[in-house]
């Protein structure tokens, strides 16, 4: 096996790290503009990150080493996710299979790390956020599994790079009922997984309503920078995955410089469009009552399940 896929994976990670703050910047800026505000510009999250990285973390008294480790674990899981998911190129890694089970497990490692981080400081808000986060995770992960499974049937493989490659080579499979249902289900759980409206409000200051933000209330400086970057990476990678499943064109098929550059450009375009769409949709959206969230996620599971059924009927 050549090292080319490994190099491409590293490029992909680098691209994702650069794009992640920009994706957040674009969503915030879009929202600001749509609400009639000037907005801080798309570079603000990157500036925030730089500021946080220069600061010494303040950790609550009585916290365990987990508070130090969890942000790093979370970031590592997000970076690994960026390497495994086909963003710039659809080249399967020989080292780690970009298999759907692996991807879901990597997601879950990050989920557990941040939930433990929320619990570690012992504040009521952190525990509350962690409990809500785990409830949602328990509903999200099965949907991810089932949705990707539905997409894997026409491709004949459960590896994400191969699924994307198959869709690129056979565009007819994108517009099938199974394909559409699965991608819609996936899009809903991506919103849940990354703490966006209508499941969680990333812009709120009301501690009692928070999910993601509640878990990181006690986190500061460098720790917070890692947590933020990891969360932004998750959003960007998952958005990129949805984008590549919907529009698989431009994803590099070989490790040559040209296609990879093109792939990065295509990814930038898709992420920009999706980020603007996400922010636009959020402006007109209210946050669901917490007890309605399971209903929404159950709905997305049903869509994913129907997608599986449909793929078998077609196949």
């Amino acid at each position: 096996m050549s090292v080319a896929p490994l190099v491409v994976a590293l490029v992909q990670v680098a691209v994702a790290v650069v794009f992640a703050p920009l994706v957040i910047g674009v969503t915030r800026q879009t929202r600001a503009r749509l609400e009639g505000r000037v907005g801080p510009g798309v570079l603000q999250p990157a500036r925030d990150l730089r500021k946080l990285l220069a600061k010494t973390p303040l950790r609550a008294a009585g916290t365990s080493p987990l508070t130090v480790v969890a942000p790093v674990v979370l970031l590592a899981s997000s970076l690994l996710l960026a390497a495994l998911v086909p963003l710039v190129a659809a080249l399967p890694l020989a080292l780690v299979p970009g298999d759907l089970f692996v991807v879901v497990s990597v997601l879950l490692v990050g989920t557990v790390a941040i939930a433990l981080l929320g619990l570690d400081a012992g504040s009521a808000f952190g525990g509350m956020g962690s409990s809500r986060h785990m409830t949602i995770a328990a509903l999200v992960e099965p949907t991810v599994l089932v949705a990707v499974y539905a997409l894997s049937i026409p491709a004949g493989s459960s590896a994400l790079p191969l699924i994307v490659a198959a869709r690129r080579d056979h565009p007819a499979s994108i517009a099938t009922p199974a394909g559409v249902l699965a991608v819609v289900a996936l899009a809903i759980v991506v919103l849940a997984e990354t703490g966006r409206l209508p499941i969680d409000n990333p812009a709120t200051h009301l501690e009692l309503t928070m999910i993601h933000e509640a878990m990181v209330l006690e986190t500061s400086a460098r720790d917070l920078a890692w947590v933020d970057l990891a969360s932004w990476l998750r959003l960007s990678v998952l958005l990129g995955l949805v984008g590549n499943l919907l529009l698989p064109w431009g994803v590099a098929g070989t490790a040559a410089v040209g296609p990879v550059l093109l792939g990065a450009l295509a990814l930038a375009g898709k992420l920009a469009v999706l980020a603007v769409l996400l922010a636009t949709a959020e402006v007109g959206m209210a946050k669901l009552r917490l007890f309605r969230v399971p209903e929404l996620l159950a709905g997305s599971f049903v869509l994913a399940f129907l997608a599986v059924t449909a793929s078998y009927l077609v196949a």
Binding site: E35, R37, H205, L206, L288, L290
Partner: protein, 527 residues
């Protein structure tokens, strides 16, 4: 039906023929109060008074909404035997007033059902009663040793969430302790009284003119409401007549205040369910109202328009602004109610039932959203508002009802503003102000606290529908025209305790929304 007052220090010279004042013995008080309440009266105020060597006095003020009749019961309390019979089993608000009187004056409510501290946090010195005449102005505060008596809730899966008193947003300080199972609130206890400024004491010894600017700052968003209530109480005490034009200007200012407050609240409630864009627009609309206000009185929050004995504004509000804001708010409300998620979040959330609201004496839009048709503009009018005025009520008592009642009231206020401007016909108020003996005798005193020993010769009372509900002030003045006592009741004092009641079976993430739908004042409550 003014009863003769044989020896009471506060000889009433009240201007209103509808008020009566009676001295009642401590033993006779409960039966008398029960009779008044059974007759449809509402307890508007209960306040302690320190008459120096003559002893203490507790004044209970009852208002009758149907007839605008006001009845004062005065109970003399000896200094060395300072107690009153508790009315806490008869009236819930009376029980709270008694605790406030106890904390301020050391007058013990005998047989109170819940005799806990109210305004005094535990770090206040024991035996130090701030409202007494001889109270040291600057006592030595100790550490808060008592903790705070939260009712412990036990059982499997019950945990506590402490929130505040410092919050993440621009919110006044209040500590909330939730006992929660899963996400459902079993019990919530609010600890307020973090913003005690000693306002009532600050007012003592000042002339009404000196005191008026302070009353505009009782609760920042109720500048007109409290200033007007205070001015009317002083006018009631001194029998100062107010010209029709000035009364119209006052009504106009009151409605302008209601407009900008309701606009902000409607947006804030939408923001609490994640619809930030509605708040952005509500704040934009509020800003245009505030700028219009600045042209009206010279102050964005309408300070400076009310005077003792009159009112004077710089300009009438631009009706085009008021009309367009009202139309735009109506559109915002329509957009909000078109969103099924928002409707789902609002409907059935934090229900305050009519019976509970009535029992606790809840006021303002909270009461009206629970089906209680209370509004001092109709019950205790100071000017005829004409056909444009109606009270807005709803029956459900949930967040949605409080949202809708605000939206309706805002439209009524806008119509009232238009009507009042037309009736004023260019008039800006006479600007006539009463100049009392205190002012005539040499103007401002540098040391308003120097003379707190004046003997009250006149007392007056006023009830005004401020934007949050009925505000009530009762003042006593001495022969020199200085305040010997001003008792202030913000509607929040009545409505705050209803919030925990409404939270039964509400889930934790809905609390901020429920709280915002009540939006009670912390500062007005604490004084």
């Amino acid at each position: 039906m003014t009863a003769p007052r044989p020896s009471g220090p506060a000889g009433s010279s009240s201007a209103s023929p509808l008020s009566s004042s009676q001295a009642v013995s401590r033993d006779a008080l409960p039966a008398r109060v029960e009779a008044l309440l059974a007759d449809g009266h509402r307890l508007a105020l209960a306040a302690g008074h320190d008459d120096g060597p003559a002893g203490f006095r507790v004044v209970y003020v009852f208002a009758h909404p149907g007839t605008d009749r006001r009845t004062e019961l005065t109970v003399a309390v000896p200094r060395d035997d300072a107690w009153v019979p508790s009315l806490s089993t008869v009236s819930f608000p009376a029980g709270r007033f008694e605790r406030a009187v106890r904390d301020g004056f050391g007058i013990e409510p005998r047989d109170h059902v819940r005799p806990r501290r109210l305004i005094r946090h535990a770090h206040w010195p024991t035996g130090w009663y701030p409202m007494r005449r001889d109270a040291a102005v600057d006592p030595a505060f100790g550490p808060d040793e008592s903790g705070f008596a939260f009712v412990p809730v036990e059982g499997q899966g019950v945990y506590e969430i402490p929130v505040g008193p410092v919050h993440a947003g621009m919110i006044e300080p209040g500590h909330f302790r939730f006992s929660v199972v899963g996400e459902t609130i079993v019990r919530m206890k609010a600890r307020l009284w973090f913003v005690h400024r000693g306002l009532e004491k600050h007012l003592q010894g000042r002339t009404p003119d000196e005191a008026l600017p302070l009353t505009e700052r009782i609760s920042g968003d109720t500048a007109v409401g409290h200033a007007l209530t205070f001015a009317m109480a002083v006018e009631d005490a001194l029998g100062v007549p107010v010209a029709e034009e000035d009364r119209l200007v006052r009504a106009l200012l009151l409605e302008l205040e209601r407009l900008h407050c309701h606009t902000a609240d409607l947006g804030a409630m939408a923001n609490d369910v994640g619809l930030g864009i509605l708040q952005t627009h509500a704040l934009r609309l509020r800003e245009s109202l505030l700028r219009s206000n600045a042209a009206v009185t010279g102050h964005r929050l309408l300070r400076g328009g009310i005077g003792i004995g009159g009112a004077r504004i710089r300009a009438l509000p631009d009706l085009d602004i008021v009309r367009s804001v009202a139309a735009e708010v109506a559109e915002l409300v329509r957009i909000a109610l078109d969103g099924s998620v928002l409707v789902d979040r609002f409907t059935g959330t934090a229900v305050l039932h009519r019976e509970a609201a009535a029992e606790m004496g809840v006021l303002g839009y909270v009461a009206r959203a629970s089906g209680l048709d209370v509004d001092a503009r109709r019950d205790h009018p100071f000017v005829d508002l004409g056909p444009a005025f109606r009270t807005c009520t709803a029956q459900e008592g949930d967040v949605m009802a409080r949202f809708r009642v605000r939206a309706d009231e805002l439209q009524v206020s806008a119509a009232l503003v238009a009507d009042l401007v037309a009736r004023l016909d260019g008039g800006l108020g006479t600007g006539r102000t009463w100049s009392g003996p205190g002012v005539a005798a040499g103007g401002r005193s540098d040391e308003p606290h120097q003379d707190l020993g004046g003997t009250p010769v006149a007392s007056g009372l006023a009830l005004v529908e401020a934007w949050r509900g009925t505000a009530c002030h009762r003042v006593e003045l001495d022969a020199a025209g200085r305040l010997t006592r001003a008792a202030i009741v913000d509607p929040s004092f009545f409505t705050w305790p209803a919030l925990p009641v409404a939270l039964a079976d509400t889930i934790v993430p809905d609390f901020p929304l429920a709280n915002k739908s009540f939006n009670q004042s912390y500062a007005g409550n604490d004084l």
